[in-house]
């Protein structure tokens, strides 16, 4: 019986007859469901802190956080600079010899009595893998970005972009391992030699920076106002002409930023590169001869040397070069951004 009552009540809005029949029992049934909430209402305001004080506390907390973050960056740069410059100031190594010397063997002394600390092979190696990897990644990243934004937005945004971004989460040691087992033998088979070298290193790096460059390129292309595309279509330009001459041209600063941020990542990547680059601290004669990068020499050498030795200081100098280069990359990004803003008016 109670079941029927409930049903009748529910259908009463639609059909008048059953509602009339069950009007009495329904009234009784509705009494256990009163509209007013029982107990304490959380929305009733308690006594509030004075607004002025809340403002002050909020401002102070945020200020302290910002201060600590800034302090961290400044002290970090200061420390790297202090140790890195000790090579030249304390140990008396000529900066020019350091930057242009081609032999890296800090344990033995050269003809002039100074340790053999030529960082040029590593500098060449680092720039080599960075530029090459960006050269490899650029067509894929921009192509994928065009596809995602202009050609198949639904598929691109829902499938392609998430899949590419999965690559971000893969640890670099896994990339190194994959490079070691796939790329190195492939390079060896195709070009001879050991397979270790700049080519293998840059291919591994290219895969690693692909998600960064692709994602940022997608953002850059997607931020081109639709009015530009319409304007171009309105002039009878085809889709490809529009993409090539209007969209890419407008997205260029953003794509450059993407590439440079990718370069920053590639420049600083240590482990994966070290596993496939061959680690021979001499200027590479070709893309397939073993080489070394600033990062690979750092990771291999840092654990072996005591703090304060000349070798250790030299490693800090390499770290300083890395840091300075990263700062230069960031600076370039800012300059591009500022120029873009100027064009935007």
């Amino acid at each position: 019986m109670p079941d029927i009552q409930g049903q009748a009540g529910a259908s009463s809005i639609i059909d008048g007859a059953p509602a009339a029949a069950s009007s009495l029992p329904e009234k009784n049934g509705s009494s256990p469901h009163p509209g007013s909430p029982k107990g304490k209402d959380a929305r009733v305001p308690k006594k509030l802190m004075p607004k002025k004080r809340v403002e002050r506390i909020g401002g102070t907390v945020c200020g302290i956080c910002a201060g600590i973050a800034t302090l961290l960056v400044v002290t970090l740069i200061f420390m790297v600079a202090e140790h890195g410059l000790a090579t030249f100031v304390v140990d008396g190594i000529s900066p020019i010899a350091f930057l242009t010397g081609t032999t890296w063997n800090p344990h033995s002394n050269g003809a002039d009595g100074a340790p053999l600390m030529g960082a040029l092979p590593m500098i060449v190696g680092s720039f080599g893998v960075t530029l090459l990897s960006c050269l490899f990644v650029l067509p894929f990243a921009v192509g994928a970005a065009i596809f995602t934004v202009e050609i198949a937005p639904t598929f691109g945004r829902k499938v392609l972009q998430p899949v590419i971004e999965l690559l971000v989460g893969i640890p670099s040691v896994v990339f190194g391992l994959l490079g070691l087992t796939i790329i190195v033998p492939l390079v060896r088979g195709a070009f001879g030699g050991t397979g270790y070298g700049l080519l293998a290193g840059s291919v591994v790096l290219a895969v690693m920076v692909l998600p960064t460059v692709t994602s940022l390129s997608i953002d850059a292309i997607a931020s081109v106002p639709n009015a530009y595309r319409e304007g171009s279509y309105g002039l009878g330009c085809s889709r490809w002409q529009t993409i090539w001459h209007v969209v890419l041209k407008s997205a260029l600063p953003g794509i450059l930023t993407a590439v440079i941020l990718g370069m920053t990542r590639a420049f600083g990547e240590a482990l994966a590169v070290q596993m496939v680059v061959g680690n021979a601290a001499s200027i590479p004669t070709s893309l397939i001869t073993p080489a070394a990068t600033l990062t690979s020499v750092l990771t291999m050498g840092m654990g072996n040397e005591a703090m304060g030795t000349v070798y250790n200081d030299a490693l800090w100098s390499l770290a300083l070069i890395l840091l300075v280069m990263s700062l230069v990359f960031i600076l370039i990004v800012h300059l591009i951004g500022r120029k873009g803003a100027k064009v935007n008016g």
Binding site: G231, Y233, G234, L235, G236, S250
Partner: protein
């Protein structure tokens, strides 16, 4: 049979050459430029944004399309150069006669069509390029210039036609974004005129501009029409329609309610909705 005639139509539209336009221009005053019959637009299967619009536009005339927001006047304008087809799932029905062929079919060459039916948008949208390149882009993409000198000449002619040349001739290599809003809009007109169109569609071209720039655009529209082009201008501004147009068509709720000479439309409207709109009862 049906497919045959369709592909013929496409071929004949594709063959419209610019020389032909230029040659017929002076004698073409008053000639029908574009004629629509029962044009309707569906943005999806359920909602019809526009229904049964039949209008005729003549060369050498400025035609204004007026009506309250959302009445379908822009939607109609965007049918005339098939811009609506860039919107996914958008469908155009009815027929649009242009140069003796119906452009509402799948085989139409949209790129050639849009070359001869130019369009200027609500917001000035010059490309992020120099002033010169903004005008030169479409000319070179359509392979219209035979040489650098020819390209220079076409760019100059277009800028002159849009009454912009005297203001920009010394900084053609400056970014288009260095121009003021009104100049940008005239640059957009210039880059359209550079393709020697015979119809120019203007979608509320002055809504982002101040009164002085608006005046300049209106004068430009007039002089373009005087050169034998059919100018179709969408506006929500009745004074603008009265100032600039020869004929006016009133749209309301996806329908074309009344059309006629501008003077008659404003002095002696017959439809009650148009009377209400003109007297400012809604807008």
């Amino acid at each position: 049979m049906a497919t045959d005639s369709l592909s013929n139509v496409a071929a004949s539209t594709a063959n419209i050459s610019l020389g032909e336009h230029a040659a017929t221009r002076t004698s073409a005053l008053g000639e029908v430029a574009i004629k629509t019959e029962d044009v309707g637009v569906f943005y999806n299967e359920k909602s019809q944004a526009l229904r049964n619009v039949s209008l005729t536009f003549h060369r050498g005339e400025v035609a204004a399309l007026i009506g309250p927001s959302g009445c379908g006047k822009s939607t109609f304008l965007r049918c005339l150069n098939l811009m609506n087809l860039e919107i996914p799932h958008c469908r155009i029905v009815g027929s649009i006669h242009y140069h003796g062929s119906d452009i509402v079919n799948d085989k139409i060459n949209m790129f050639d069509l849009r070359k001869s039916i130019g369009m200027v948008f609500q917001q000035p949208n010059p490309f992020r390029k120099s002033i010169y390149d903004n005008v030169a882009l479409a000319i070179s993409r359509h392979g219209m210039a035979s040489s650098k000198a020819d390209l220079d000449e076409r760019v100059e002619r277009a800028l002159r036609a849009a009454v912009l040349w005297d203001e920009v001739k010394d900084d053609l290599n400056k970014s288009a974004y260095a121009l003021s809003g009104g100049q940008q809009q005239r640059l957009c007109i210039a880059r359209t005129l550079a393709l020697d169109p015979d119809v120019l569609l203007m979608d509320e071209p002055c809504s982002a501009l101040d009164p002085i720039a608006t005046r300049a655009i209106e004068d430009t529209a007039r002089s373009i029409a005087d050169s034998g082009i059919s100018v179709i201008i969408v506006t929500h501004n009745m004074q603008q329609a009265a100032r600039v147009s020869d004929t006016t068509s009133f749209f309301y709720l996806g329908e074309m309610v009344e059309t006629g000479p501008t003077e008659r439309i404003f002095s002696n409207p017959s439809d009650d909705r148009l009377k209400g709109y003109i007297s400012g009862q809604f807008g």
